[in-house]
């Protein structure tokens, strides 16, 4: 019994992680019952107490974050990664402000809608209810811990948060503030649990215990999300690519077309709602493309055009290949294609788009209506920049992510997306005949 092989140790460690995650799951399920019944006042009290705790813990948060940054530098993380990891004073302000904004949001839980009487005499309608337990898996940004916790809490859910291992000291320090807030409102401490182990087996377990976890929201790169979707046995709210399109119709107003197509590409390059392919009707290509090429050139955007577009794009533009139509550059690069008209534009989008966000620029009513209806993406726009596709711009107040799925929630997911509706039936002793 003394000779313990390395294999046994590994097996035991895995068992421990499994047991640990099962315990978190059980506790979360238990806490979710209390959270579902928690009053709006209690939830808001907790959120405000969290904000106060964070404000009072700036020094602690800074020291914890310094530990993570130090280890990150030693591990050779690149500058972008270290930047995402940093809890600057401005980001701490942002966390506090975010919590207060969530307090101001309407509580979705318990909202009753569509009550109507049926011929049998019963009254039937729907009540909005929390999903139960939400697992959030994210990468290096520690402020996500606070943001995700606040949205799950306000929507009456329990949360299990699994952040990146490189942010673990920061995440634990934030978790301490969250616990403080929950305690201040007499809500269960297990309503928000931050996974403490950095063992990757923890994620594997989290996404395969449907008895304790109702939905997983991964936040991070496409690789993370695809891996989780493939292995999960729990529903996943996915946010995959944003290969977004603007289509300039030949009945477009040229000024609007140029303004929107410039903004959609150049306002920010690294965001999921940035335009990646510009489609232009052949009837207007010779008018708008030279104007746009000038703008893109000034911004330093690399243009990759189809053979018809190229002559209008200036000397530095290069030929697009098939792969360009499928690519989310997240960079100052743009694919440009001339199409015969609306039909070809819609067909191109429905073939190549990641179903995130697309916009038509047109003054023609019928074409705008067809585009709205026939383009199968989570956000479809008329005469507006794709950059508007986010929860704040849409008035959701906050956003846990943007869904590129088709069931449950499409597009920016706010508090409502973390809830569902059950049926309620009121009678006076009604029985079925």
């Amino acid at each position: 019994m003394q000779a313990v092989s390395e294999n046994t140790v590994v097996a035991d460690a895995t068992l421990d992680v499994e047991a640990y995650m099962l315990r978190l799951g059980q506790q979360a399920r238990q806490a979710s019952r209390q959270m579902a019944a928690a009053s709006t006042a209690a939830k808001n009290t907790a959120l405000l107490a969290m904000a106060d705790a964070i404000d009072a813990s700036r020094e602690t948060l800074h020291l914890a974050n310094e530990q993570d940054l130090q280890q990150g530098r030693e591990k050779g993380l690149d500058a972008a990664m270290l930047d995402r990891l940093a809890l600057t004073p401005a980001r701490i302000d942002g966390m506090i402000e975010g919590l207060r904004q969530v307090v101001a949001l309407q509580d979705p839980v318990g909202a009753i809608s569509d009550m109507s009487f049926r011929p049998s005499g019963i009254q039937v309608g729907k009540m909005r209810v929390p999903l139960g337990v939400i697992g959030i898996i994210y990468e290096s940004r520690p402020n996500v811990t606070c943001e995700a916790a606040s949205l799950c809490l306000k929507s009456g859910n329990a949360a299990i948060l699994r952040g990146g291992s490189e942010a673990r000291h920061s995440n634990q320090a934030i978790a301490e503030c969250i616990r403080h807030g929950l305690a201040a409102a007499d809500l269960p401490a297990e309503a928000v649990q931050v996974v403490e182990t950095t063992d990757r087996a923890a994620v594997g377990k989290l996404i395969t215990m449907p008895e304790f976890v109702d939905v997983i929201v991964p936040r991070g790169g496409k690789g993370l999300i695809e891996r989780i979707s493939n292995e999960a046995r729990v529903p996943v709210i996915k946010h995959l690519d944003g290969n977004c399109h603007v289509y300039i119709d030949d009945k477009a107003d040229v000024d609007k077309a140029v303004a929107v197509a410039e903004n959609a590409k150049t306002q920010r390059y690294g965001t999921c709602n940035t335009m990646e392919t510009l489609l232009v009707a052949e009837g207007i290509a010779s008018t708008v493309l030279p104007l746009l090429a000038e703008r893109y050139h000034a911004h330093g955007v690399e243009m990759r055009g189809c053979p018809v577009a190229l002559p209008y794009l200036g000397d530095e533009a290069i030929a697009a290949s098939e792969a360009d139509w499928e690519t989310e550059y997240l960079a100052p690069v743009l694919a440009i294609k001339v199409v015969s008209g609306l039909d070809e534009a819609i067909a191109h989008i429905n073939q190549y788009s990641s179903a995130h966000t697309e916009s038509i620029i047109t003054e023609d009513f019928d074409r705008s209506q067809r585009f709205l209806r026939e383009v199968d993406s989570s956000s479809v726009m008329v005469n507006a920049s794709t950059r508007f596709a986010d929860g704040f711009e849409y008035g959701l107040g906050a956003e846990i992510g943007i869904s590129t799925d088709k069931i449950h929630a499409r597009g920016p997911v706010g508090l409502d997306g973390l809830t569902s509706q059950k049926y309620i039936v009121l009678g006076q002793g009604h029985i079925r005949q």
Copy 2:
């Protein structure tokens, strides 16, 4: 090259099934684009033409069904199975009537809601859109072919239908009528495809091609649904057990309590919304249980009581075991437990229920509100029989199933459950600052 081993043959057959299913998937995806854009008038024309085709094909349907019944008898199917398989004249009437009812339902596609202006000037709202391609997997009832096709069609989706192998002649005959209807409205024939192979690998492929199938709806026994949920790589709208509860509070009206608890158990035994466990507050047990025991006894319902309930249930009642609290009998058997009050009732339900349908009988307002809010089931009722939990009683007009899932749709799933909402944004050249 001549010596082909049995293994090779199997592999080739599997490849053929895979290729066949991929073709169905591609065709369905293609057709789904046209269906999403189809007018309400075209969809209704197709449904009415299907009804006419079925009416005109009674003899063909009867002969095809006779083939299935004959083979079923030869295979030794039991009487219940053969009954489900039979396309009696009344069931054919039911199919025709069902199609006409779906025509009368409001088209959910394209409905726009919640349009509002944002501070940026854009106008944001939601548009209801089809899910895309729906795979339906069902067992022996051939009339499901017609019903599922009609609901998918009206909601603007393409459907791939995989019925039980024992009903294949009947299903193909119905499919012929469906194709006739689609053709009459100039809708693509591939909008509804009935899988022709009875190879089980077809199901395995259908549930693992997310690129062509957006959601799977299995209709059948728990075994089928669990198997599909475990293996699917596509979202599944699940309908698992209906372990439903009625809780008689000590502030219940005795007449209502007896009427509802009798009806919920005895109106039909084999349905998912039938009560399987009766909970009674101890303060009212000695009043209602003897009255109910008399009714149940008269109906031949076997009673299994907890130690406190047993003395009130008569000589034939037996002691309940832990397993009884978890069991969906689908039979004239009822578990009965006396609880201390509302808290214990809610805790018992949230622990043992399958989250399908539960009802409280009480005259107390606060308790009714707590029960509605804190019971985590897809239908929660006050003073009404659990038997009301279905799409027709709720006014959905038709139902593709009852979801015991928490995301996307809970409870009876009608046309809306086969759709989702995308965001639409209207501007006049708006760009993001």
